[in-house]
Symmetry: C3
Subunit: 194 residues, 3 copies
């Protein structure tokens, strides 16, 4: 009958009956958590096989790892809204820090990456898409400048749409990584507050 004489809450307190860790311990924990490696999923959106032809995935993986992202995977999907969405969902559900889509941001009838992404976003962060378009204009990547790509947050994952020319990728990556790192910091800090 001891089960009933000590209520659950009391037992929990007993179980944690040790000295409180120092403030330094928590600070160390926190900075460890915030500085923990950042994982990225690459989603290549194309009606042609990108991988074989253009080597896009290798370029992006290189640029991501230069900026301290660990590439968790590369998914290749056709220009179908459902497929794009499913690929993004895989990343979000898997808890990656960044899902980076490439392609499908133009004005053609089969360019639906922004629409698929919008459905997934909890919060739109227009400043990243703006920065990518703006520096695309400056460096002459016209597809980046007219890209309909959007950026934002879904759960604890940042999602970014890039256009798929090589200059759009090179310039876009240089622009987006510091901003995305800032958002990831914010998201990790918020998750510790709750």
């Amino acid at each position: 009958m001891t089960k009933h004489t000590i209520p659950t809450s009391q037992r929990d307190v007993d179980a944690f009956d040790f000295e409180e860790p120092s403030e330094d311990f928590f600070k160390a924990q926190e900075s460890t958590h915030i500085d923990a490696p950042r994982c990225a999923l690459i989603v290549l959106v194309s009606d042609h096989s990108v991988r074989s032809g253009k080597d896009t995935d290798r370029l992006i993986a290189e640029l991501l790892s230069e900026d301290n992202f660990k590439v968790d995977g590369v998914v290749e999907v056709s220009k179908s809204k459902a497929e794009i969405r499913k690929a993004i969902e895989t990343g979000v559900a898997g808890g990656v820090d960044l899902v980076l889509t490439v392609g499908g941001t133009g004005v053609g009838p089969r360019d639906l990456t922004p629409e698929a992404t919008r459905d997934m976003l909890d919060k739109n962060v227009p400043g990243i898409a703006q920065a990518i378009r703006s520096s695309g204009l400056a460096c002459g990547a016209v597809d980046a400048c007219t890209s309909r790509g959007i950026c934002g947050v879904s759960g604890s994952t940042v999602i970014v749409n890039l256009a798929d020319s090589r200059s759009a990728i090179r310039d876009g990556m240089a622009t987006l990584t510091p901003l995305v790192h800032h958002l990831i910091d914010e998201l990790r800090r918020a998750s510790m507050d709750v």
Copy 2:
């Protein structure tokens, strides 16, 4: 019974029965109206007491008065959508020219200033938010660049959301004041046309 023989409208006409003022008079009136002092309400959005700690309100008040705004008041609210909205409404109902919110523009779960502001806007003016993000990027205020803050018009009041780092405030204020003055000119001119 004279009350009934002269209808109210007739009496009004009689009361204003004097010579028409010259065109110069109207022009002087108009420029007086347009150049009349501009009033601002500051809304500090934070879950911690900002005023005591960071001196944010004094910085903003200083920058506003340098740019010819009279600070009508400073309201401090928690990160609650309802409270933020209520504070903005007070400013709009009171007819201030500018409501400037500071804070709550990030991607954390309790960052809801843009959502509270959106409900209040008659017209969104994306160019001001864009200019703030763009110059935030240039000056290294990352929170300004990734800010979800929006800007627009409610009645005859301009509403602007700022991020709350000191550099976001300093740079944002320098960027927004000339644009806001232009909008206030436009709004005052439109109110005279009606």
Copy 3:
């Protein structure tokens, strides 16, 4: 009775029974189609008669033809949402490559060009409006920077809203034409894929 023995489809095949054209032929066709002259419709939005007073239409027509657009027509409409929309529809239905509206992008109660345009867009292309606002800010065209104008695609037509000061027009035209040409290329290529 031969009419019935050879079905229509068979006759079509017969009619085209010749050698396949070479790949060069198709390439030439394609580049001809893509490089074909681009037609533009100008829509002047104003409650005053713009044409007589400000010579706006001549300025825009000049700038358009310098950038390889053929001006198909100039329509002058009042600041009524229905009228603006109808004018844009005329251009889209007529298959022009670009509908360029001028005016009605401010925050006054009768500034409704963006609202009329939004109803017409299949796809919003925020990068063009962004580029126009951004270079407006740099060149001191405050009305361009605070413009609520939007840009996008309706059918095979690109629609762009400009503010109506002369500097907004001059600067805006310089900014938008290369981006619009890129979109027209994309739209023409997409129409050939289908």
